[in-house]
């Protein structure tokens, strides 16, 4: 049974206002509850190649795997919980090997790599895998939480107590990552499983968004525009561009449908205001 109708997915990707290339790649597949986002790096167009390979391979292979192993996927929550992380890990490893080998064999692609963040929704859970500094956020009610921790030097300095989050936001050293797809023969994907609730909105993004738009503004946008996710995605990109757009900007929004999703607290406020 395809998962169509259980999720609303909207996305936007933009080169930003400084770069000539868009090295980000995104793919979504609502039927299998999959969203993949990658932020490539490397000279000339190698970054686009790396992120493109990662996203295309994972989207294609995951669909194939889920079609042939549907039993595993459609089983109980327990089975899904076992299968989903394994699928993410396997396909990230496969993409890593392919990019690494391409980079080894073709001089113009030497050193290319990419970040990766991917979500696979099943039952009432989501498995998230990430490598590098592309992020997953969750909007639940009016609270925004960052569910992934960057694999970046900056994050390590924050963890070490040497920088505050606010200082990190203004540091020149953003974008230095300590883990990437395609740089080494092997890479470890960090995987976590979270419960989902109807009304949740999940945001996958490249650092071009969260470096330019603060968490408060991301929260306000998702909270205000939850009734129109395509507009929310557009709006996030626009804010990043309005604030400078120094890097490529990509966002994928996944809204989990359900009865509770229909109305949130902000509506009451507006109704009261309009009627008062």
């Amino acid at each position: 049974m395809p998962l169509n109708g259980m999720f609303e997915i909207a996305s936007a990707t933009d080169p930003g206002r400084v770069r000539s290339h868009n090295e980000d790649s995104i793919a979504t597949d609502p039927e299998i509850g999959l969203a993949v986002l990658a932020d490539g790096m490397g000279g000339y167009n190698a970054g686009e190649v790396a992120s493109g390979i990662a996203v295309a391979m994972i989207a294609r292979d995951m669909r194939k795997a889920l079609e042939t192993e549907r039993r595993m996927y459609r089983g109980t929550a327990g089975n899904g919980a076992l299968a989903a992380p394994d699928l993410l890990r396997r396909h990230a490893a496969h993409a890593n090997r392919t990019i690494y080998e391409t980079a080894q064999n073709q001089r113009q692609y030497r050193g290319m790599g990419t970040t990766l963040v991917m979500t696979l929704f099943y039952d009432d859970q989501v498995a998230v895998g990430h490598i590098g500094d592309s992020r997953l956020y969750r909007m639940r009610g009016d609270r925004l939480s960052q569910l992934t921790r960057d694999h970046s030097l900056l994050q390590e300095q924050i963890d070490g107590g040497m920088l505050t989050r606010e200082q990190a936001r203004h540091s020149r050293n953003r974008g230095i990552i300590t883990r990437a797809v395609g740089i080494d023969p092997q890479v470890e994907t960090e995987i976590h499983v979270h419960d989902t609730r109807p009304g949740d909105i999940y945001l996958l993004c490249s650092d071009g968004l969260n470096d330019m738009v603060g968490d408060d503004d991301i929260r306000l946008t998702l909270d205000t525009l939850r009734a129109n996710l395509p507009l929310a995605a557009q709006q996030l990109v626009q804010q990043a561009n309005d604030n400078g757009g120094r890097d490529n900007i990509s966002v994928i929004l996944v809204g989990v449908r359900g009865n509770e999703a229909a109305h949130g607290g902000w509506l009451d406020k507006i109704i009261k205001w309009a009627r008062a």
Binding site: Q157, W266, A276
Partner: protein
């Protein structure tokens, strides 16, 4: 070019240009910076320089590597940081070029630190700052870091919408947030966004689209001008700027 100034007990010994991707500091003769002192480990520390940034790493030394008095394992050097190795001090002078748009761009390109295993090692490789004293030292140290770049905004008149019809007539709402929704949820909602170029109205939900000055809008954002009349779900409102 960035450089380190090596000194011992206040007396400058020599200047070390960071003109290579990596220099090593240690007691063994093969190090780029060779210090013959028993407090210094054979391979004590390294400084890796990428573009205009230098990364200091302790190579598992016996007596540790310090920055401004705090022990570090790996660290992004900031201008004027003082590295302590044994009794020796290295002052880091970055002399980063004046930031132009292109250099900002270079800094912010995503880079991956390759090779050194330490960088890919699990988190928590930072030494724990256990006692309160070192925590206090750490916080005063971070407080001294480069101040956050403030984004000055030119003073703008306050934008307001005022309800003109219906039971709410006369009511004003100041548009203080970047995004403000107006309308009846589930029926018709529009959002007014505040951008550097001004204020814009965009349809969010409902079958009917907003009407501005008698003209029905499409799905695209529409720029609002002073004294525009907006109609949403039958309620008329005026958008205007308040000049104090």
């Amino acid at each position: 070019m960035a450089r380190l100034i090596l000194s011992l007990e206040g007396a400058t010994i020599r200047e070390i240009p960071l003109d290579r991707e990596r220099i090593t500091i240690g007691r063994r003769p093969h190090n780029d910076v060779h210090i013959e002192n028993l407090e210094v480990s054979g391979e004590h520390a390294s400084v890796m320089t990428i573009l205009n940034d230098s990364f200091l790493e302790d190579l598992g030394s016996t007596n540790g590597t310090y920055v401004n008095g705090n022990p570090i394992k790996k660290y992004i050097l900031q201008n004027d940081d003082v590295i302590g190795i044994g009794k020796y001090q290295f002052r880091y002078i970055s002399e980063a070029p004046e930031k132009t748009l292109t250099t900002v761009d270079e800094f912010e390109k995503t880079m991956v630190l390759q090779a050194p295993a330490v960088f890919t090692a699990p988190r928590k490789t930072m030494p724990a700052m256990g006692d309160t004293q070192s925590l206090a030292a750490a916080s005063s140290f971070t407080a001294a870091a480069r101040p956050a770049a403030a984004a000055p905004r030119p003073a703008q008149p306050r934008a307001v919408i005022q309800i003109l019809s219906g039971t709410g007539a006369g009511r004003e709402l100041e548009l203080v947030k970047n995004l403000t929704t107006v309308g009846r949820p589930g029926v018709q909602v529009a959002v007014i966004t505040h951008r550097p170029q001004g204020y814009f109205i965009t349809h969010v939900e409902g079958v009917n689209y907003p009407i501005v000055n008698g003209r029905t809008l499409g799905a695209q954002a529409h720029a609002l001008n002073d004294h525009d009349i907006v109609e949403i779900s039958g309620v008329k409102m005026e958008f205007f700027f308040k000049h104090d």
